[in-house]
């Protein structure tokens, strides 16, 4: 749902794109709590889609509904153009997912875990298991018990399990959680590759830098309502951050607060940090100078996804 607040931040037209997932008015209520409200989403083949939101925003509930684990209260959910309710297995067979954290049988080895899943899914060639283990660099430890795996290895096994069925939609919930920097980079490099292989990747992450690096488009959800849905590029070119050093930051802040096009303003050490539209640095400088405040330093930087997220969500953490 597009709210008035983000009316300008709306998704690109998806008319020519192959829609893999479409939700229309998707709503889930748990008793009196409306966890997800009228969610309209479209995810296209070949893109990495970031799904962000603070704790309890409704991300996991949405993923649960996409995977048939949670029954929507109202609205519809289409995967590959088919209604999930009516064709659950035929569409879910084409989806791979890790939800929240990888969950496997602790008494089985990594290889046996994949074997158990492959048997359940069916029609998966035996060669696929070593292939996916190799792809996530787990081949050497494939015969170790899952309970002996580090968090990073568990994550990698989770990714291997999603690749087992050669999915067209991959849902990854915090895929780099617990990974060391090298592992994080590996996964970060792997995600765009997966999308390039004619799939769509639905990425839930609280690592906004990571999302900024790998996602083509993001949606931000807060209290069950989607408050932004736009290409990352578009979100990041909306404004710029100005770092201004002045003698009296308090006075500068009170002057800048009165300007309607200033998005946000805060004081960090002796600097005033202002989020303003692009190419308005000179206007800011001029306004301050007219009030007798002269900047000894004025540095412009691009708005990060983190600052966009914090602004839209009112500063809540994105776990």
């Amino acid at each position: 749902m597009t709210t008035p607040a983000n009316a300008e931040i709306s998704a690109e037209s998806g008319q020519d794109k192959d829609v893999i997932l479409r939700t229309t008015g998707l709503t889930k209520r748990f008793g009196k709590l409306e966890a997800v409200k009228n969610l309209d989403l479209e995810i296209y083949r070949g893109e990495v889609f970031g799904f962000l939101g603070p704790n309890g925003a409704g991300k996991s509930t949405t993923v649960g509904m996409i995977l048939g684990l949670v029954t929507p209260t109202s609205g519809s959910l289409e995967l590959f153009g088919q209604n999930l309710d009516k064709h659950q297995w035929s569409v879910l067979r084409r989806v791979g997912a890790i939800i929240e954290e990888p969950a496997f049988y602790p008494y089985l080895s990594g290889r046996s875990n994949l074997e158990a899943l492959a048997r359940a899914i069916g029609n998966i060639p035996a060669a696929k298991i070593p292939e996916v283990l190799e792809r996530v660099n787990l081949a050497d430890r494939a015969n170790d018990r899952y309970s002996h795996y580090s968090m990073g290895m568990k994550q990698r096994l989770g990714i291997a399990s999603t690749l087992l069925r050669d999915p067209e939609l991959i849902i990854l919930d915090e895929p780099t959680s617990g990974l060391d920097p090298a592992g994080t980079k590996e996964v970060r490099d792997l995600i765009p590759q997966l999308a390039q292989e004619h799939r769509a990747v639905f990425l839930c992450s609280h690592l906004l830098h990571e999302v900024e690096l790998v996602c083509d488009r993001v949606a931000i959800i807060k209290e069950g309502v989607m408050i932004a849905n736009a290409p990352v590029r578009e979100l990041l070119t909306k404004g710029q951050l100005l770092r201004i050093k002045v003698d009296n930051p308090g006075e500068a802040t009170s002057i800048l607060e009165k300007i309607p096009w200033v998005n946000s303003i805060k004081i960090e050490d002796e600097y005033v940090i202002v989020d303003v539209p692009r190419e308005s640095a000179s206007d800011v400088n001029k306004t301050l100078a007219e009030q007798g405040i002269y900047a000894s330093e004025l540095v412009s930087s691009h708005v990060s996804l983190e600052s966009v997220f914090l602004e839209l969500t009112g500063g809540e953490s994105g776990d």
Partner: protein, 286 residues
Amino acid sequence: MTRLIASELFKLRKRLMSRVLLYVLIGIIIVLYFLLLAVSKVTIPGHGAGEIGDIQNLLGLPVAIPFALYITSTFGAVLAVILVASCIGSEYNWRTIRTMLICSESRFKLLGAKLISAGIFILIGMIIAVIAGFLMSLLTTAIGGYAFDFGFMDGEYVWNQFAQFWRTFFVLIPYSLIGFLLAIMGRSAMPGIGLGIGIIFLEGIITAFMRLASGWVAKVPDYLLAANVQAINSLSDLPRGFEEMGRSDVTFQLPGTTHAFVTLAIYCLAFLAIAFYLFRRRDVTG
């Protein structure tokens, strides 16, 4: 469904718990045989040769299979509850339920596959228990110096044991399904195992008190599990007195065989229906 059963059997086969439960059952059979052998060799003051003879009969080859099946229907019920409850409950404990649901054609088929594969494991356990009982009977017969006589092994005997095998399997089902249902209700193996075993033991005590009452209260146990299970177990070829093992009060009349089968079948259907309904309807979160 076949794919899911193959997956469930694979997991059960690889799980240490499945083997441990089987070793426990075999261990109980071995210990009981040696205990009976020891008892049959001592003179118990106040007990006549007839009773000692009964114990010697119990060690004998003709009774080996019914005795093993009897042990399976009593101690084995506890093990079956543990197996069946943990086969679904552990999925919640390890949070693999979501992983499995995403890989399953439907919730109905996943639950069905779990029950069928657990049933197959129970049947395998029963066959191994029968073999263990027979081997122990051979051993104790040899140690005790009793005669080896296989003359009892005629067509009628084989048929009776075959029927008793399936009757024993049948009486294990309601208890297993209670464990299964409670594990689903509690979203964990522990409620299924704990309450399932609790019901096995507590029902006997509660029904014993009910039997002491008069009127309709005394009739209530006829519609519970234990009395009907005993009614079916009493069809076995155990020596005089042993089919009454476990009954706290042998003076009451057991329900009829048909009544017992119908009552247990109704319980099974009810437990199954509630388990499938809950599993299908509930959201899987957290």
